[in-house]
């Protein structure tokens, strides 16, 4: 089995090449996942680049991205496979009256031709390299997690009528979670765990520089600096990277060169969503000596 990445530093560079700014931790765990052929569970606050990581890895490896977006109520039929019963019915009707024996018929209608492949199965059956992204897995019920276990540990799917289908290639699997609930231990045991947090100031500045057209290095630095200060305040919800980017874009549009208190106050609603957070942050930022409670 050949490996996708030669070493951690190279992987980090390649990611940067497609505008994804990682760090030692992120690159290290992705590298390891490839070597150990294990899925990665990426957990962390919303908007910190978890989904983007999977996309960017698919981009640098040239692998097709197969995405299963999770939601409450997601079931086997939507995640794994489903029999195309309409087509099956038509076939049965077509056979109606003929004396073909039932076993033959059932062999026939439970064959590939009648199988509707959903993302998980698709990833297993793909001939070419794929990256499988199981996005926001914390949204499905705990019971539904069980669906994933076989795939994640053995890269295979058992279909009663067809037997066990094994992966033709080992997909690189990312599961993401915004941590709205605790995932089961069984699921966690099968994965490498990567916690993605808000980036430090330097990395955030680089992300802003990379992602916001026409921004000056100086403004990007100021943006990262203000956001860092805001994240140190105890708030209900801290600004995410996507909110930082939105804010930076706005500042560029407004032609801001220097972020002063006025500018911050009139645009902070892009960074913070709760009114109580906004009030608190503005009050804090107007305090020179930073008396955080």
């Amino acid at each position: 089995m050949s490996h996708r990445f030669s070493d951690v530093a190279a992987l980090k560079d390649e990611l940067a090449g497609v505008d994804y700014l990682s760090d030692e931790g992120i690159a290290g765990v992705v590298y390891l996942a490839d070597r150990l052929q294990k899925p990665i569970l990426v957990e962390g606050p919303a908007g910190t680049g978890k989904t983007q990581l999977a996309k960017s890895v698919s981009e640098i490896t040239g692998a097709r991205l197969i995405r299963l977006q999770c939601y409450e109520g997601l079931d086997e039929a939507k995640a794994l496979y489903e029999w195309n019963y309409k087509k099956q019915l038509l076939r049965i009707q077509a056979e109606g009256g003929s004396d073909e024996d039932w076993t033959d018929l059932s062999d026939d209608i439970f064959s590939d031709e009648f199988l509707l492949t959903r993302p998980l199965l698709e990833a297993i059956r793909a001939e070419e390299p794929v990256v499988l992204l199981i996005d926001e897995v914390d949204r499905v019920e705990v019971e539904t997690e069980a669906l994933l276990l076989e795939i994640l540990s053995d890269y295979q799917v058992s279909i009663p009528e067809l037997g066990t289908l094994e992966a033709k290639q080992i997909p690189l699997v990312f599961l993401t979670s915004n941590n709205t609930r605790e995932l089961s231990e069984a699921l966690k045991r099968r994965c490498l765990y990567l916690h993605v947090d808000y980036p430090d100031m330097e990395r955030e500045k680089t992300i802003v520089l990379t992602k916001v057209p026409d921004i000056t290095e100086n403004l990007a630095g100021q943006v990262a600096r203000v956001v860092r200060s805001i994240r140190q305040i105890e708030l209900k919800k801290h600004p995410s990277v996507s909110e930082t980017l939105d804010w930076a874009k706005t500042l560029v549009l407004l032609g801001v060169e220097k972020i002063d208190e006025q500018t911050a106050a009139s645009t902070i609603n892009i960074l913070l969503k709760y009114q109580s957070d906004i009030n608190k942050a503005l009050k804090e930022l107007a305090t020179a000596d930073g008396v955080t409670p």
């Binding site: 590298y31 390891l32 150990l36 709205t180 490498l192 765990y193 105890e234 208190e261 911050a264 109580s276």
Partner: protein
């Protein structure tokens, strides 16, 4: 439980392979710190270290963490063990070495700190206090990590006064080092400098940003100092002893009544995600709520449209009415933190109840429900409770009997059959009368009365604790010393 799970705490033997022995020793320390490491995870870690060299410290650390730590809450505990365990196994650590070479404590260790003090020309060795102060200033001004490390090493060597075998903890050395460095003074100087540069005085806003910036560099420096002290302590006392002294409870196990300032901060951080999770879980529970008992009358009525076949069974609503919650909380001294977290949690999920009312007491009692109404920030409300509630009657020492009396007199007749009452406190009554009959009377009217005690059960009814007297009239008395227990209780309540 599968077989694999049952064997979870067996440790695979790394037959004589030094790197595997090293890893096994590490996992023993992790388990001792309370981290759950299963057999699968242990095996994964063994695989992982084949692909990531020990010399690449950061990557090595993340690789181990990815296989061994599956809860972000446990990261800090992991990191502490990691730093202690691998603190002497630096770049030059060779697998197969019987014992790691201890760093020379005395004169010549400039070998591993190249770059740190080059600009000062002294290579970092034996700087005068003035030179060291200048280097400190420079390192904070530039935010230069290498230089900070150099400062840390010099400062610890010069100021901490570490001697082999001395039985004092790391915090003592840290204190001595920091006191001599006067970092706060340096921060002030740096901030003044800001002002001059620009020509005009910076606004409060600019000052705040600058201060945060320097402060975070100062924190970085402090971490370097701690690391240096730890390194020397490990060299002196050995890994195991150090790992043991540094062992701290995981956040979910931090005792409310004995939390340090730092732990309090970590608890406050932990409570938001926890309430979010709890709320999401309860909402799901309600939506997918198990069905209630069969409703015969409605089933029969529905069956009429199916020719008398009960094709569509009807069920009673499993939760006909959301309960109403009264929280009555002792907010005196040592139990205040517990009351705060509980109020916070209850209000965070108040949507699960038809109404929440809050009462706080010390020896007097006050209703504080209004302080929570229409506020978005529960923290702020809790803060107001602590500063504004009128809870002192005589001397501000807990008097449960009197407080309960006030409650009963003023609010007793507002207790209804749907009211669940939670009483929070250690029932340390300073030898006043218990008036436990009030609890009995409350419970006769209420749906349930629960007592939550933040003290370990083994302390109950010792000294002036009279929780037993009250407990006999409650539906349940629970030890709630930490977030783990609090979460479990609230989960069951809703």
């Amino acid at each position: 439980m599968t077989v694999t799970d049952a064997a979870a705490d067996a440790t695979p033997k790394g037959v004589g392979d030094p790197i595997l022995d090293l890893l096994n020793g590490f996992i023993v320390q992790l388990r001792a710190a309370g981290l759950p490491v299963s057999l699968t995870e242990n095996l994964d870690a063994m695989q992982a270290i084949r692909h990531v060299p020990l010399e690449d410290r950061e990557t090595f650390k993340y690789a181990l963490a990815a296989t061994l730590v599956k809860h972000h809450n446990h990261w800090k505990a992991f990191e502490t063990v990691f730093e202690v365990y691998f603190s002497l196994r630096g770049d030059d650590y060779q697998i197969g070495d019987e014992l790691v070479e201890l760093p020379e404590m005395d004169d010549d260790e400039q070998g591993d700190q190249q770059g740190s003090g080059d600009q000062q020309g002294g290579g970092g060795e034996n700087l005068t206090p003035e030179e060291l102060a200048e280097m400190l200033y420079q390192s904070l001004m530039r935010g230069d990590q290498q230089m900070m490390r150099g400062v840390a090493r010099q400062a610890v060597k010069r100021y901490a006064g570490m001697e082999p075998g001395r039985p004092v903890g790391g915090t003592y050395y840290l204190y001595r080092t920091l006191r001599n460095l006067d970092i706060d003074g340096v921060l002030e100087r740096l901030l003044e400098q800001e002002q001059n540069e620009d020509g005009e005085a910076p606004s409060d806003f600019e000052q705040r940003l600058a201060r945060d910036e320097y402060q975070s560099r100062a924190n970085q420096l402090q971490q370097e100092i701690e690391a240096e002290i730890r390194r020397r302590l490990v060299a002196d006392r050995g890994v195991e002893a150090m790992a043991k002294t540094l062992r701290k409870p995981l956040p979910e196990d931090v005792d409310f009544m004995h939390a340090s300032r730092e732990e309090m901060a970590s608890l406050r951080k932990a409570i938001w995600p926890l309430t979010r999770k709890l709320a999401a879980r309860l909402q799901r529970k309600r939506r997918h709520g198990r069905k209630g008992p069969l409703d015969f009358r409605r089933t029969v009525r529905a069956s009429l449209s199916y020719g008398g076949v009960p094709a569509e069974p009807k069920f009673r609503n499993p939760r006909p009415h959301k309960p109403e919650i009264f929280v009555i909380a002792d907010i005196s001294g040592s139990v205040a933190a517990f009351a705060r977290f509980t109020l916070h949690l209850v209000y965070a999920i108040s949507g699960q109840f038809s109404k929440v009312r809050a009462f706080v007491f010390i020896d007097g009692l006050d209703e504080v429900t209004h302080m929570f109404e229409g506020v978005e920030d529960i923290n702020e409300a809790v803060h107001r409770v602590n500063t504004e509630a009128d809870v002192v009657w005589v001397d501000g020492h807990s008097d449960y009997g009197h407080a309960l009396g006030v409650f009963w007199e003023k609010y007793g007749n507002e207790i209804g059959a749907r009211t669940s009452i939670m009483i929070l406190g250690d029932a340390r009554n300073n030898y006043h009368a218990s008036e436990s009959w009030i609890i009995k009377a409350m419970n006769e009217k209420a749906r349930a009365v629960h007592w939550l005690n933040p003290e370990p059960q083994s302390y109950w009814d010792t000294g002036d604790s009279i929780v037993g007297e009250y407990a006999q009239h409650c539906d349940g008395t629970f030890e709630v010393r930490n977030l783990r227990q609090l979460e479990a209780f609230v989960d069951n309540l809703a």
